[in-house]
């Protein structure tokens, strides 16, 4: 199967995509000389700044969430590859302020290494930065070994609630506490049905048999744990919900946030159908889906499948989830 993407020279890909991104959303973001994505109108200096980093090719993540109520700086890497420490330390220096900086890092080897190196440098330089790691992929490790869990779409929830807290003037410690509370109460599980092509190599990034689906497939098409034949929306939702409920020990009467994240070619139509399936099942279990959403928040090129995200919510988290935001790819 030939790759059918609209591209120019793949070695300029990230630069071109970021330029196009900045054009499309010039009212909300701009690019620095070094291709960091920053707000068009910076946040007041007396409020905590949020910074994140991550590979490209997952649009609208993560730069699509730079803006009022969410991120201050996004540090995009190359396709599926975290940015290196040089860009990240530049971003931390730029964001640094007395109120402090919260660095949100998804648990993938490259992101963590870059973040750790930049954090060491930041400490040496006396920058005021705290780090939060997101690791909620229940398919890659048990809850008591968070270091084995990958960071999936859950980063969005963490950015949303911590970003809202920062916008409201919360301290760095408070923002960190909010982010940490969200992080400890969330879980994600992915399912994949079709592969995608790596935009630079043109090769398929995974192999999925014609009639199968793979539960637990990662952000970059890394294989997952369970392979079964393709199931209906109801059946798939039931399997995934049950795994998330067990992982989070969600009980009858608990309040949860549910998010369906389409990873590429799975249609919004299907995401709504799955969300509707989830609602029926959760109702039958008397679990309260107090908030929910569906959409393409963090994609893996044109891969088919979705990530199901669940989080136990308290009233403070729900309020921060609802708080207004104005970002290129998320606004209320």
């Amino acid at each position: 199967m030939t790759m059918k993407k609209f591209l120019n020279d793949p070695s300029d890909l990230v630069g071109e995509l970021l330029s196009g991104f900045a054009l499309a959303h010039a009212d909300k973001v701009k690019l620095t000389e070094n291709n960091l994505v920053v707000r068009a109108e910076p946040k007041a200096k007396n409020k905590v700044a949020l910074v994140t980093l991550g590979g490209s090719g997952h649009e609208p993540a993560l730069s699509g969430y730079v803006g009022q109520g969410m991120l201050d700086i996004s540090v995009p890497g190359e396709i599926f590859a975290a940015p290196g420490p040089p860009k990240l330390i530049e971003a931390l220096r730029m964001a640094n302020r007395p109120a402090g900086v919260l660095l949100i890092v998804l648990n993938h080897a490259g992101d963590v290494m870059s973040a750790n190196m930049a954090m060491e440098m930041a400490e040496q330089e006396g920058l005021n930065v705290r780090q939060i790691l997101t690791h909620e992929d229940i398919s890659t490790g048990p809850r008591d070994k968070p270091e084995e869990r990958r960071g999936l779409v859950g980063c969005l929830a963490v950015i949303k609630v911590a970003g809202a807290a920062a916008e409201q003037g919360a301290s760095l410690d408070k923002c960190w506490e909010i982010a940490d509370r969200m992080e400890r109460n969330m879980a994600t599980l992915a399912v994949a049905v079709t592969s995608a092509a790596h935009p630079c190599t043109g090769e398929a990034i995974s192999e999925i048999p014609e009639t199968d689906m793979i539960i637990g497939m990662g952000q970059h098409g890394e294989s997952g744990s369970a392979q079964t034949e393709l199931k209906t929306a109801d059946e798939t939702a039931e399997i995934m919900l049950n795994m998330l409920i067990v992982d989070l020990s969600v009980k009858k009467g608990d309040d949860i946030l549910l998010m369906i994240n389409g990873v590429g070619s799975t249609t919004l139509m299907e995401q709504y159908v799955v969300l509707n399936s989830c609602k029926k099942i959760l109702d039958s279990k008397k679990i309260n889906m107090v908030r929910c959403t569906a959409g393409e928040f963090l994609t893996v090129q044109e891969m088919g499948g979705f990530q199901m995200f669940m989080a136990r919510m308290d009233s403070e988290l729900a309020e921060l989830w609802d708080a207004p935001c104005k970002c290129p790819c998320m606004a209320t």
Binding site: S11, G55, G77, E78, I79, F80, A81, A82, P83, G84, P85, P86, K87, H108, A109, G110, D111, M113, S114, N116, M117, S139, T140, E148, H198, C200, T201, E203, A204, I205, G216, G218, H220, G221, E222, S223, G224, S225
Partner: protein, 203 residues
């Protein structure tokens, strides 16, 4: 010495990406290529003849390739070598060994991986150990690097029969069995490149 590595990665980057596709995300070759282009540019633009300074610049350039795990790991290797290098413009064999050991040390700070985990360490640890041993045996630099390249190559070969336990490929399970770890192959190519480079430019 360094530029020999650039050449070999350039020749083999497709194979490296292919190896990364068995359970990984299929980009290791692309990433190494970018890192090596950065390395080459930084060597070309470096004004210092001092090895320490040059390696520091190279390390930063490699990390600046935004290469996922690869940038920090290989960058750390050069960063450690820079830390371990003396102030001069040439190296004796013992200094060479110390320099590579410092490189390995710096990488070890970034990862818990050991021999057997199917990562770059399967090639890097034996290669650096071999450098120390060959230096202790009194060989000259090209010979030392030849021994290192062989050890790295054997280490990379050994990853074929391993299951990954760290990094993105971890969850691939069976998929990568029978295939070498791409990072380990990169390390072996780099050591081979060092050897070739040392033969060409004599140091």
């Amino acid at each position: 010495m360094l530029l020999g590595a650039v050449e070999l990665i350039r020749e083999n980057h497709r194979k490296l990406s292919e190896l990364d596709s068995f359970g990984g995300d299929g980009d290791h070759g692309t990433t190494m290529l970018r890192a090596m282009e950065n390395l080459k540019n930084s060597v070309a633009s470096s004004e210092s003849g001092q090895i320490k300074k040059l390696l520091g610049e190279v390390a930063w350039a490699v990390m600046g390739a935004d290469g996922g795990a690869t940038g920090p790991l290989f960058g750390s290797f050069f960063m450690g070598m820079s830390n371990g290098a003396g102030q001069g413009e040439t190296l004796d064999c013992a200094a060479l060994a110390s320099m590579f050991e410092a490189g390995l040390d710096c990488v070890s700070k970034r990862t818990k991986a050991q021999v057997g985990d199917k990562t770059i360490m399967d090639a890097m640890i034996p290669a650096v150990n071999e450098i120390r041993q060959a230096a202790d045996e009194g060989l000259d630099i090209p010979a030392i690097l030849e021994r290192a390249a062989d050890a790295a190559r054997q280490g990379a070969d050994s990853t074929k029969n391993l299951q990954p336990r760290l990094g993105r490929a971890k969850n691939a399970g069976q998929q990568s069995l029978g295939h070498e770890d791409p990072g380990a192959v990169s390390v072996s190519l780099i050591f081979k490149g060092f050897m070739k480079g040392a033969l060409n430019d004599g140091g």
